[in-house]
Amino acid sequence: MVDNHDIGLMAHLMRRAGFGAPREELERRAAKGYEATVQELIHPENSEPADEYALLRYQPAALLPGGMPPMGNVNWMFHMVNTQRPLEEKMALFWHHVFATGNSKVDNYDQLLAQIGMFRQRGMGNYRDLLVASAKDPAMIYWLDNNENHKDAVNENWGRELLELFSMGQGNYTEKDVREASRAFTGWTFSVKIPRLPYGRFPWAFEYVAEDHDDGEKEFLGHTGNFNGEDIIDIVVQQPACGRFVARHLYNFFVADEPQVPSWKITPSRDEAAVDALATTFQESGYDMQAVLTTLFTSDFFKEACFTKVKSPAELVVGTLRLVGGAEIPRPDYGREIALQPTYMGQDLLNPPSVEGWHTGKEWINSGSLMSRINFVADMVGSTDLPGVRDMIRRIRAKGSLDPEAFVNSCLDLMGPLQVGTDTRQELLEQAREGGRLAWDSADETEASVARVGEMLQLIVAMREYQFN
């Protein structure tokens, strides 16, 4: 028997491990059970991927968008809205937050989308393999100048960020380690078969240039040898700091907002025990992300963390679209109206401000972004002809005539279930009382009630509580 607590917990899981789900899906999943759903989420191979042919039909330019927005954004938004593999897509977004690579420099959405595809494919696999794949990813190589990292002229950009931002964090290595790691990655570059001009872009491919690789002896984190890049990664993942670093990223993304990454060296996590638990699984499983995610989603610290994180713009936009429906097909205005919405709210996907990624949590909110967030979401839930909104109205109508309190409770329930504070509830009740009982007995009453539900949903999403995941 599915009770409301199960639905609430399932809604929480789906918001965090995906982009939320409509009520029908929540009921279906809750009936299957929480643990079974976690297993389903970490095994995306059992569900179909998003249909790229639909993208090809409606937005052919989004398959190979070149350097110009918004087609890169259209491509990824289409995947996030349509995916039947929510955790796979959410992990791709997670790794994009961590391995932040931007079109501002790469100027090639084709390669950035290829990188996101790599995150989809490997994001729940072995972390060591993911690091190696990232080191060989052409967009990453260009973004962090490893194509300029030569045997006789070392460029430390990739080597440094590998240690600082992708694996261990500041304070766990020396400048010498940065230098030696960088030497080990000399000769890791990419090739382009045909020059870009005048015909456009051609695919980039990883290339190992043996004669440009410094094969000499290196000393790295206490190990000595003629290391190549993969050896460096093998040493890095064994470090306790690496497990803790990945664990803290996961905690920050899936559980609760942490301070921004540069301060992690000095500021402890808000839940050190949780980070320890994740780091322990990371080490014991041999860096298996499926195992770490299982620990995460089945832990009490996760289950108790409802509505404690500020939604990222991508989560807000995609979550709302999946709730209201109607954005599955990328119609002509998709870019401006849908795919660039996160950009307007401060998260230009595939184009993070720097390799440090976005500042998250409270920093998503300013007087401009908050208004964009509220207005976009209110427009969506106020469109009472959208399939998801129609479904919510149908469910409310099925309860018959409702007094104001039941009206508010029903709406909050369908919008989450969303928990709201006393003051917020008070205002929602005032709004409901103004129109009296919600009734459906005549055509006029029905029309008025549909409008009232739409307005109530708009007011609900305008409340602060809806900004939290």
């Binding site: 401060g346 401000p353 207005n375």
Partner: protein, 377 residues
């Protein structure tokens, strides 16, 4: 007008990297013609400024302002080690942090200093779909108008009197802005600021009347919005808007001409409008871009460069040329680009100190040589 009105700064950002060489054209320099076999302006179309330099033909509408001594041309503006990345470069212009990734905008800091007690939530107004980092500083309210001023505000989709009621409830629910935890409190205050900013600004179009017709372009519509808010006397001190994209890697000639015609005609209409309202004297406009473009063209456009050109326009501006046009000689270029010879933070310093009367070093992060383009009263 007996009372001295508060100085107002309007910043117009040319996004994408405006081509300096085809904006203020060194037409007397043979190196210009040698480097621009495909992307040059025919000599008979250039609007001459003097024996050496001329404006792009699309800048015709600005020429009278230049002739009247109201336009300062800042040559070779930029900073050392230009990264040639749009985002990074714009970020540096926005935050004055060339070495680290900054989060505080220079105008955000200026707004904090102008209105430290946050008495007016529309002290800063930006026109664009999202907040420009230049204006961003946590806790400093900035009204961000995306789209038209007429429909700007919270929940524009709800109509008429019902909207007033809903907004009232919004206000009540956001009002207990303390005691619900730091993030809820911050969001409460931000929501209230955002909404009251919209309430104040939406008055502006209603109070506004003008005989000036703005051309039909995005930038002109934004400039008209600036004029509406400015002439409504709402206490706004800093406006921000952008236009673009000036990222003309290919087919530059037509696109660049169109963009500059839109900018020039828009800015011309804007100042004409302000004069009609006797509201021009306390306005100075800065026009900047994140970088200039490559000296040698690529056959149909130009690639990302370094040193660029900036303009200051207004009655308080001491018109003319500031700084030297960087040398086009091959040995003087930096990776094929004009070497910046005037730090953008010096230009900011003049605007902050001589115009807005603020402490510049704390805002731009140091002391920089500042061109004296503001006429002393």
């Amino acid at each position: 007008m007996a009372e001295k009105r508060e100085p107002v700064l309007v910043v117009l950002q040319l996004s994408g990297g405006n081509d300096y060489l085809n904006t203020v054209i060194p037409y007397a320099n043979s190196l210009y013609w040698e480097n621009r076999p495909a992307v040059s302006i025919p000599e008979d179309q250039i609007i001459p400024i003097d024996q050496a330099l001329g404006f792009h033909p699309s800048m015709e509408a600005l020429k009278p302002f230049y002739d009247a001594g109201d336009v300062a041309v800042m040559h070779g503006v930029g900073y050392a080690n230009s990264p040639r990345s749009h985002f990074r470069s714009m970020d540096i212009w926005h935050t004055c942090e060339p070495d680290t990734v900054g989060t505080e905008g220079w105008l955000g800091r200026a707004l904090r200093d102008i209105d430290p007690n946050k008495e007016n939530v529309v002290t800063g107004v930006s026109f664009g779909p999202s907040m420009y980092r230049a204006m961003a500083l946590p806790g400093v309210p900035v009204a961000c108008v995306s789209g038209d001023l007429e429909t700007y505000g919270m929940l524009p989709g709800i109509e008429g009197q019902r909207r007033q009621k809903v907004l009232e409830r919004f206000k009540n629910a956001y009002a207990p802005a303390i005691g619900l935890g730091a993030v809820m409190d911050y969001m409460g205050q931000t929501g209230l600021d955002s909404m009251s900013g919209a309430d104040i600004l939406k008055e502006a179009p209603q109070r506004y009347q003008s005989s000036v017709t703005y051309p039909d372009s995005k930038v002109a519509r934004k400039l008209r919005g600036v004029a509406q808010v400015h002439t409504a006397d709402l206490g706004t001190r800093i406006f921000y808007l952008d236009h673009g994209s000036f990222d003309t890697h290919a087919s530059q000639t037509g696109e660049h001409a169109k963009l500059w015609r839109e900018v020039s005609e828009g800015v011309g209409a804007f100042f004409t409008d302000l004069r009609e309202h006797a509201a021009a004297d306390n306005v100075v406009m800065l026009i900047f871009t994140e970088f200039g473009r490559r000296v040698h063209d690529n056959g149909s456009g130009t690639d990302h460069g370094a040193g660029g050109v900036a303009f200051a326009i207004g009655g308080a501006v001491q018109g003319g040329m500031y700084g030297e046009y960087p040398s086009l000689k091959a040995e003087a270029l930096t990776q094929g680009d004009l070497m910046p010879n005037q730090d953008f933070r010096g230009v900011y310093t003049t605007l902050l100190e001589d115009w807005l009367e603020l402490d510049a070093p704390s805002i731009v992060g140091g002391t920089f040589e500042s061109p004296a383009f503001i006429a002393k009263a």
